[in-house]
């Protein structure tokens, strides 16, 4: 003779098992649906490759303390900030090459970001398509590895400013940060607290303002 309470317990456990089985079946179906949905939204097109364009790099030469233009064709994004970063990255790649005329280790990864900000006029407003300030954020590893010297540091700053001027004519001023922070000098000489001017006459004179 089975006691009554055991019969009730058996029925309750059987019902619980049936309910859990149903829930498990539903969860399985939902997971399967999610998986199928995910496969549907997966990219089916190849990522777009930026079109190759011509860029002018102002390449420094330590031997004669000059900056000379060099035309290169390279894929450039349309976004101006990404474009500036890609061009400056290519410039620093040239400097990191074994036979560089201005040898600086680091390469393209030394440019962490380039931000373009409108420059306010004397009335305090920034007109659209007006002059812009480029903020070049360098990595600390680039600055640490940069050779110390008045000429070599000045050439690095000058070539970055004139390369921006050659490819993004709306950029009229350049400031430098290192890992997002202001820094006194590049490697003990060139002042990085200044705002550098990029226009032709100012670049020729290495122009800057406080």
């Amino acid at each position: 003779m089975i006691p009554r309470h055991q019969t009730v317990l058996f029925i309750v456990l059987l019902a619980a098992s049936a309910i859990m089985g149903v829930l498990l079946w539903n969860q399985l179906r939902r997971s399967h649906d999610r998986l199928l949905h995910g496969e549907d939204s997966a990219p089916t097109q190849a990522p777009q490759v930026a079109a190759a364009e011509q860029a002018t790099l102002m390449v420094a030469n330590d031997a004669d303390n000059t900056v000379q233009p060099r035309l290169l064709t390279l894929p450039l994004p349309q976004n101006p900030e990404a474009r500036a970063r890609a061009i400056l990255g290519k410039l620093l790649d040239l400097y990191a090459a074994p036979i560089a005329t201005h040898s600086v280790p680091g390469g393209a990864s030394s440019i962490a970001q380039v931000f373009l900000l409108p420059i306010a006029n004397s009335k305090g407003s920034a007109p659209p398509n007006g002059p812009e300030l480029a903020v070049v954020n360098l990595t600390s590893s680039f600055v640490t590895g940069h050779p110390s010297g008045l000429e070599t540091e000045s050439l690095t700053v000058l070539s970055i400013c004139s390369t921006l001027d050659a490819n993004l004519p709306q950029v009229k001023e350049v400031r430098f940060l290192v890992d997002g922070q202001p820094r006194a000098t590049l490697a003990g000489h060139a002042d990085l607290t200044r705002t550098y001017l990029t226009n032709e006459d100012a670049v020729a004179a290495g122009g800057s303002r406080p």
Binding site: D62, A63, D64, N65, S103, P147, S148, G149, L150, E151, T152, S154, V157, A184, T185, A187, G188, H189, A190, D191, T193, R194, Y196, A202, A205, G206, G207, S208, R209, P210
Partner: protein, 220 residues
């Protein structure tokens, strides 16, 4: 009575003495020092090289009658602003900031990249050199001629260098690099005593020439 006569005689003698020649002050600024070693030149840091070269140049200038003021005499750390203060208080007719590097060839001459400005009674500290840019460019031209005459290759440039921009004197930054010119029979390293002597003699000769051109009193 005799004392009064002696005083009168000495006063007459003093009045007849020729006026003392105006002092021609040159500021030598050996870059770096202390914790700031500057560039690594292989055998020594830049701070040691500039100090030794500054001592050599100071001797040459003192022998030629210049009053020389230096921003540091030993391995001390001197802030750029303090270097400019020393130069400004000296009321100098020429300020030379001495540097050294392994890159490039010959001597690199740099003048502040500030745009020329009109002289004013009060000058902003960070751009005080702007009123002296034209004189600084003239001084760089004289130094360039002297170095070229001594067959030292020279490159000219403009730069933003902390310290120089606050100096109220004709100021030039001079960076000495090894002589790697193609026409040199063999490259002369920074440690080459003949090369050092050639550069130092040329700088002294340039300042003698500058003294013959510059108006007295350190004014523009």
């Amino acid at each position: 009575m005799a004392t009064v006569a002696a005083l009168a005689a000495s006063a007459a003698t003093f009045a007849q003495a020729p006026p003392a020649a105006p002092r021609f002050v040159v500021v030598l600024d050996p870059a770096h020092g202390g914790d700031d070693a500057g560039a690594n030149l292989g055998s020594q840091p830049e701070k040691a090289y500039t100090l030794a070269f500054g001592v050599r140049l100071r001797s040459l200038l003192a022998a030629r009658g210049f009053t020389v003021v230096t921003t540091r005499e030993s391995d001390d750390s001197v802030e750029p602003d303090h270097r400019a203060e020393i130069a400004d208080h000296a009321n100098a007719q020429a300020c030379l900031s001495l540097h050294a590097a392994e890159s490039g060839s010959g001597v690199h001459l740099f003048v502040s990249s500030l745009a020329p400005a009109q002289d004013a009674h009060f000058l902003a500290w960070k751009t005080a050199q702007a009123s002296w840019i034209l004189r600084s460019l003239s001084l760089a031209g004289v130094v360039n001629s002297a170095l070229s005459h001594a067959t030292v290759p020279v490159t000219l440039g403009r730069t933003a260098l902390p310290g120089i921009d606050s100096m109220t004197c004709p100021a030039v930054a001079i960076e000495i690099a090894p002589d790697r010119s193609p026409d040199a029979s063999e490259s002369a390293g920074l440690d080459d005593p003949d090369y050092q002597a050639r550069v130092a003699d040329a700088l002294a000769a340039a300042l003698v020439e500058w003294r013959s051109q510059a108006p007295p009193g350190g004014q523009q």
